[in-house]
């Protein structure tokens, strides 16, 4: 008798494909949020598995803060082209120029400013659903989020009033102007993502691997030296062998000193790691409830 057994990655994969197809079945105008980062790469492969041999039924959407790593944007554009997918990019820069987003006096980070740009893109293309690569193990507020995460007509998440999610039955019903965020990777961990990248032999942006970079010591971590927030005289600057573990903006993404040259090395490194992935993101360190507050306001 053959064994009808799925390993953990196969389980996570079939769950995610099921979610992708529910989106295609229940929404009129879905979009897939694609940054080129490791989570959204898995998302894209899952979309291929869900919808091939047909074309992907969703365009790819990326909110470009203007502070992205150039390597990431290059990768994003190339990958979209390889797949023959339609890529829509909306930039914070442009949104500021058009008055859609307004930085606070002295505000350099583009993290908060992504929110109005995302909401404007949703309105512009009348997207009723955005598929995102967020995972529950990333952060405590994410741990409470549903696969189908309802947003009201202002894009807000109300954690106290989420729709119960039972079995694999997702309630995708919306009134006009409302939006659903769907997270097929909810049950994946950082380790699962890398194991899936290895199993599927997915190409990843070069900055995940070890490279030389000028880094500045700031707030207890090494950040990429950059022209946006140039090193101040008292700050230590060094040439280091580093990689990124999670990609945010170039001004807030912590660098990990690492010799990891390939996916196997990264998996070994994560297995031995003693800090979480988000431990290297300055945007989440702002306060214990930083993510919760951004999500309530309409963040990914």
């Amino acid at each position: 008798m053959p064994s009808y057994h799925l390993d953990h990655l196969q389980h996570l994969e079939t769950e995610a494909i099921h979610l992708m197809r529910e989106v295609a079945g229940e929404f009129e105008r879905p979009a897939l949020l694609f940054s080129g980062g490791k989570d959204s790469l898995c998302l894209l492969r899952l979309a291929e598995k869900a919808f091939r041999p047909s074309e992907l039924p969703t365009p790819l959407l990326n909110i470009d803060t203007g502070h992205h790593f150039p390597e990431l944007n290059e990768f994003r554009d190339r990958r979209a082209q390889q797949l023959g997918a339609k890529l829509i990019v909306r930039t914070v820069e442009d949104a500021i120029a058009r008055g859609i987003a307004a930085p606070a006096p002295g505000e350099i980070s583009r993290n908060r400013l992504q929110i109005p740009v995302l909401l404007a893109a949703i309105e512009e293309f009348r997207f009723d659903c955005c598929i995102g690569g967020a995972r529950r193990d990333e952060e405590k507020a994410r741990a409470k989020e549903r696969f189908f995460s309802f947003r009201d007509s202002f894009g807000q998440w109300d954690p106290k009033n989420q729709r119960p999610e039972i079995w694999n039955l997702y309630n995708g019903r919306l009134n006009p102007g409302e939006n659903m965020r769907v997270f097929p990777l909810s049950n994946w961990t950082e380790m699962d993502v890398w194991e899936y990248i290895r199993r599927e032999r997915l190409e990843v942006p070069s900055i995940y691997f070890s490279h030389h970079r000028r880094a500045v010591r700031r707030g207890g971590q090494w950040l990429p030296a950059n022209h946006l927030v140039p090193p101040r005289p008292h700050e230590e600057v060094r040439e280091l062998t580093v990689r990124v573990r999670t990609i945010g903006d170039i001004i807030s993404t912590g660098l990990v000193e690492s010799p990891a040259e390939d996916v196997d090395d990264i998996i070994a490194e994560i297995a031995a790691a003693r800090v979480t992935e988000r431990g290297s993101r300055a945007d989440d360190r702002a306060s214990e409830a930083a993510m919760e507050d951004r999500k309530k306001a309409g963040y990914f």
């Binding site: 193990d137 297995a271 031995a272």
Partner: protein, 446 residues
């Protein structure tokens, strides 16, 4: 309370499968502490998480680290010391990957537990060794039984506070065994432990020489879950019709596949299947996947089926095998868990989502309300209020193809959605069908 003397290295090998479990207990039974202990002792906690814990200990805990702060993720929860909703946690050992649904034990409990436990392989019922079985323990066990969770662990916690008394352990076990025969749970394990100190959670306790069983983690790692999915009757709810419409590629020009997740049984090319509700029989020509065609697929795999005949199928249709036939009816009997502040009354109309289809239903009757403490039905209630469980009759606008929930959790379950607000107001578990799909003149009709 943290000692670092135990423990094995973090996992490196790929875990072989996934176990989903949920924890139930009332407010002070130590649920969150138990989860914190599992994460901590299995080396699944990271330094920055521990630092954050220590910071919150300094701010709100008077210097005492509170493992519960690991799972209580939202600000309101930390401020009020409560858990609002289901929180999911992940950890892995070299043998398994675990998904924990942590559900709070106070008000709204039934709703949250149903949400957190619906796909669980296993439920952990926490009992305070000092108080023994209380009404909550009976309610949680009854819910686990109603949801047909295959495995149950009764974790008798705070054993240190009763002097690690074997007599007390056996007494509580006997309290459970009094009512377990009335429920549908087949596999039950009793484990004496202390979540606060870590005894019998990950490492065996020196305080329980009289206990020969596994630690909690040892049991979670080894409990047999391979047969938790239904592999008997083939069920394939069509999710999405896969038509490339590609005029330039002759191989794809006529491709017409039906994509979905197998909700029961096994399928092979050449197998005879029937499309419902159309009632048309055909054969499976190919099982298409992104990684190439396969010679066999089984529940819960996601695949795309190509059929021999070009028949009209759309989302919401179901392909079934001939070995084990489902029911079909627009008159439905079900247990439901009511989840909304606005009560359920006979005559109300809702949308019912079952597998991949949504139909309108009217509530024709509330047959009874289930008393979760006594397990007795109370006939003829005027309404069901939030967190009530009861048996209802529904009339659907068109017939549903379904199995009893006891046979198949995926084709025997549904949710109710309130029109207008679109709120998910109930979870339903279908009773066995009174009529199955019948064969007539070689065709299948409903």
């Amino acid at each position: 309370m943290f000692t670092d003397d135990t423990l094995s290295a973090p996992p490196v090998a790929i875990p072989v499968d996934i176990l989903r479990f949920n924890t139930c207990g009332s407010v002070d039974d130590g649920k969150s502490t138990l989860i914190g202990r599992l994460l901590y002792d299995s080396k699944s906690l990271m330094e920055d998480q521990l630092e954050a814990l220590e910071r919150s200990a300094d701010i709100t805990g008077g210097g005492q680290i509170n493992l519960a702060n690991l799972t209580d993720g939202l600000r309101a929860e930390r401020e009020q010391g409560i858990t609002i909703d289901v929180a999911y946690r992940y950890f892995a050992t070299p043998r398994r990957k675990f998904i924990i649904a942590d559900t709070p034990g106070h008000v709204q409990y039934t709703r949250n537990m149903v949400t957190g436990a619906s796909l669980s392989n296993l439920s952990i019922i926490l009992v305070d060794a000092r108080t023994g079985v209380i009404e909550q323990s009976r309610r949680h066990t009854a819910l686990a039984s109603l949801l047909r969770i295959p495995h149950l662990v009764v974790a008798i916690n705070k054993m240190d506070l009763v002097g690690w008394s074997e007599a007390r352990f056996l007494e509580i076990r006997a309290q459970f065994e009094e009512f377990l025969p009335r429920l549908a749970i087949k596999d039950v394990k009793f484990i004496p432990l202390s979540a606060l100190n870590g005894d019998n959670v990950v490492t065996p306790s020196a305080a329980t020489p009289w206990y020969a069983g596994p630690t909690l983690l040892g049991h979670l790692e080894s409990v047999h879950i391979a047969s938790d999915w239904n592999l008997s009757g083939f069920r394939f709810p069509v999710q999405w019709v896969n038509r490339p419409h590609n005029p330039t590629n002759p191989a794809l020009h006529d491709f017409r596949g039906f994509s979905g997740q197998i909700a029961g049984g096994i399928v092979r090319p050449g197998q005879k299947v029937v499309a419902l509700p159309a009632g048309i029989a055909t054969r499976v020509k190919q099982i298409w996947t992104y990684d190439g065609p396969v010679s066999e697929a089984f529940c819960p795999q996601s695949v795309t089926l190509v059929l021999e005949h070009d028949i009209d199928l759309s989302r919401g249709s179901m392909l079934i095998g001939l070995d084990d036939l489902p029911g079909a009816s627009s008159d439905l009997h079900a247990e439901i868990c009511w989840m909304h502040p606005r009560p359920l009354r006979p005559g109300k109309k809702y949308f019912l989502k079952h597998t991949t289809q949504t139909v309108q239903v009217a509530v024709t009757e509330i047959t009874h309300r289930l008393n979760l403490s006594t397990f007795d039905p109370e006939p003829g209630p005027a309404e069901l209020v939030v967190n009530d469980l009861g048996q209802v009759r529904l009339r659907a606008a068109r017939p549903l193809v379904f199995d009893s929930y006891a046979d198949n959790r995926l084709t025997g379950s549904f949710i109710l959605i309130e029109p207008g607000t679109n709120a998910t107001v109930a979870a339903g578990m279908l009773h066995p069908p009174r009529e199955v799909v019948k064969a007539e003149n070689g065709d299948y009709v409903i």
